[in-house]
Structure formats: C-alpha cells, structure tokens
C-alpha cells in the first residue's frame, strides 16, 4: 500500500467541451478538464493553450482506456494521454473504473464492472500497467451504473478503496454517480460517501441529471445539478477537504451566466460543508 500522493490545489473547474470555450476566460475557475480522446495531442485546440496561458490547470480525462476491461490497456492510447499531459503541463490525468468495449464491440459509454475479487485482480493489473506509462499521477472515477452485475463480493466504496490501495491511484470522486447509484439501487448516499477513500481525492465531479418517469435517476450531464447532489457536495466537505471540484456539462448548454451560477452554487455548498467541518474542529 503506497501513501497518497499530494495533489495540487485545483479549485473550481468546469469540463471544457466544444461550445464552452468561453470558460477559459472566467476568473472564478482554477482548472478545466478535457476529454482526452477528443484532442489531437500534437495540435491542442486554441482554447486549451489559452487556458494554460491564463494559468488554469488542464486535466486530460480519458474515456476509452477501458481499464475495467479484459484487454490490457493499449500503449498508443496511453501514449496519447502521456503526450497530452506533457504538452499541457497537466498535474494529473484521470480515467474510469469501467469497460467501454469487449470482444471488439464498442459500448460508446463507460459501463460498470463486476465487483468481485477476480475483476479487482484484472483491473488492478491494468491500472498499474497504465501508471507505468504515464508521466503524472492517475485518478480513477467510479461510474454511474444503472445496471449492476449479480454476485458482487464488495460494495462500491470498498471496491474503490481496495483498488486505490493496491495501485496507489488517486480518487476522482463523482458525487452525481454516487447519487445516481444510491438512488437507483436503494442505498444511503451519505453513508456510502463516508466509506470512500476520501483522503485520496484528486478532484470531484459534479454533474447534472434528471429523475425520469421510469423511477430512475439519469446521469445525463445535460441538465442542471439536482438539489440532492448539491447536498452531497456539502456533506463531502463536512467530512473532508478536496483539492478541486469540477462541473461536468456535456450537452444542452445553458447561457454563460447560468452555467457560472451553477459553478458558484457548488462552491457555496462546499464552503457550507467546510464551515461545518471547522465548527466540528476536524
């Protein structure tokens, strides 16, 4: 078990998606995240170079490594992430505990892994192979899983904790994914939150979604952040500090002022939580 690596202070962030380039001029932000596979590493888009010029950190966020898959991670895909991190001076890169393809078939999305000892072995090996080829720390994100594998031997928090302990990877805590899983699979999100390895947080994702007629919460990243997720931001900061919090909005973009209000609402929730932690003298 390796000690947690120190993570730089990132502050507030937003996922920099095509259509949100104006974000790099915002003074409230300390970092942006970019979907690694959408960027040509040899020619990063102007907005990313501008972000660096303005002193914002840029975190490449991979979505296609399939670290939870059966195949060992592809060297070219890892080298792409590594080149991007070098080119952008990134303090870390992130990926998912998920699979995105199997037997040559693509999913087009991050899919959950079975939480068994056997899959833990395979994924831990994949993560360590990835780390060998990356120039910066790797943070891992647990995903929103509408469908759960039968026969789980560990709950999500325990699975993530053990994977991070074995690999030394950092945690990309996604509060919307936690909210979605707790709601859709019927457990208490606040109690689960406390059991995640919060001391290993690199940064936090907060995304929008909606409750639909099917009774399920859909983590769309195309809707505003629901109050239950904002409440989890407060609960998190009441328990622990986190170096950065980032809003993920991938679609259905609101006007600039509205998006920034959402970022500031997340910040306010974090500050309420931090104040509670101060009061409790933790």
């Amino acid at each position: 078990m390796s000690a947690p690596r120190t993570t730089p202070r990132l502050g507030l962030g937003v996922g920099l998606r095509p259509g949100l380039e104006w974000l790099v001029e915002q003074h409230d932000l300390g970092f942006v995240e970019v979907v690694a596979e959408n960027v040509d590493a040899r020619r990063p888009p102007t907005a990313l170079l501008r972000a660096r010029e303005r002193g914002l950190e840029v975190v490449p966020h991979g979505i296609r490594l399939s670290l939870g898959g059966a195949a060992r991670p592809d060297h070219r895909a890892l080298d792409h992430l590594a080149t991007l991190a070098d080119r952008l001076g990134s303090p870390l890169v992130s990926e998912h505990i998920a699979f995105v393809r199997a037997d040559g078939v693509e999913a087009g999305h991050v899919l959950p892994v079975a939480r068994t000892r056997e899959s833990l072995e395979i994924i831990a090996e994949n993560v360590m192979l990835a780390q060998e080829r990356l120039p910066v720390p790797l943070a891992l994100e647990h995903v929103a899983a509408m469908v759960e594998w039968p026969g789980a031997e560990l709950d999500e928090a325990a699975f993530v904790r053990e994977l991070l302990e074995r690999t030394g990877a950092l945690l990309l805590l996604d509060l919307s994914n936690l909210y979605a899983n707790a709601h859709n699979h019927g457990y208490d999100a606040v109690r689960a939150l406390a059991r995640f390895p919060l001391e290993r947080i690199a940064y936090v994702h907060v995304g929008g979604g909606e409750h639909r007629d099917d009774g399920l919460y859909h983590d769309t990243h195309a809707h505003p952040v629901v109050p239950g997720v904002l409440a989890l931001v407060e609960e998190l900061f009441a328990l622990a500090d986190a170096p950065g919090v980032l809003l993920e909005r991938d679609d259905g973009f609101p006007p600039e002022a509205e998006l920034m209000r959402e970022v500031l609402a997340i910040d306010a929730a974090a500050q309420r939580g931090a104040a509670r932690r101060d009061d409790a003298g933790r």
Binding site: A36, N38, F99, A107, L111
Partner: protein, 165 residues
C-alpha cells in the same frame, strides 16, 4: 499477474452483457431486466444526442422520425470506435434511402468529411492537407464544392446550373 484464461472468461461475460445492452433485450441471467433495458435505452439516447449534435441538418431532415429511425439503427449497429457523433452519423446516413437525403443533408455530409480525417489510432484526428469534393444538388440545380486547404481552412463554393426547361 492474472493468467490469460481469467481474462478470456471475464471478456466473454462483458461481451454478453454489452451485446444485450446494444440490442436492448435477452440480458444475461442475474441482471435486473428493467434496469438493464433502461441502461440500453440510455446508451442509444446518448448516441442519438451525439449524432444530432454532429449532424443538426440530418435531424431536421428526418423530423419526428429521427428518434425512432436512429434507435432502430443503433440496436443493430454498435457505435464506432472513434469520432462518436460524426462517424456514427455517417454510418446511419448510409442506411437511409436516397430520397431521404435532402440537399441540405448531402452538403452537411460533405462539410463533415472536410473536417474529419476518418479513423485515427487513438483519438479524433482533424483532416490535414487538401480536401476537395463536389456534390450535385437538385432544388435548385447547383453544384456545391467544399474545399479544405492548409492554412486557410474550410471553404464552400456554390455553382448554380442553368435551369432545364
């Protein structure tokens, strides 16, 4: 280190689930069929949103039929490895009948091809070098030429044709 046999069995189980999610039925034993069906729908909706985003004119051309047409296509065709909305839309367009390809869609097709250089090894790759293609349109009769030149970028040119009487 994990023996490869473990990985093979692991892959087979993931592939079985994945194929069922894409099709939207016949989920492997032990899965909650209602939640699995919802997960499959949400995968297809995500693809539809990406295609509509990359191909706005295509969505307009198909109107209300876009959602159902794309859903039927997506159940049969797994998403592409690269260029999610763009390539998926390109594959979808190929399944449409010629009469469904409005002039606007055919221009959109050409504009997309001028910017994206098809498959790349690990990520989206922008087109480099010279691209020049033309498409003949019906209403009104005209030829649209799309060029992509290094250092200049993408340009379109419309050449009206004399009306045939």
């Amino acid at each position: 280190m994990t023996p490869d046999a473990d990985r093979d069995a692991y892959e087979a189980r993931q592939a079985e689930l994945l194929r069922a999610l894409i099709r939207g039925d016949e989920f492997p034993g032990g899965f909650d069929a209602v939640k699995a069906a919802a997960a499959g729908r949400s995968l297809r909706r995500k693809r539809a949103r990406a295609v509509a985003g990359a191909w706005p004119v295509l969505e307009i051309a198909l109107g209300d039929g876009f959602g159902a047409r794309f859903d039927a296509f997506a159940r049969e065709t797994p998403p592409p490895a690269f260029g999610f909305g763009t390539s998926d839309g390109l594959a979808f367009v190929r399944t449409l009948a010629a009469h469904e390809l409005t002039d606007d869609v055919r221009v959109e097709l050409l504009l997309a091809r001028a910017l994206v250089a098809g498959r790349a090894a690990v990520a989206m790759r922008a087109r480099r070098g010279v691209f020049a293609r033309a498409v003949a349109l019906r209403e009104p009769r005209r030829i649209v030429i799309v060029l992509r030149l290094p250092g200049i970028g993408r340009r379109g040119l419309v050449v009206p044709l004399a009306r045939s009487r």
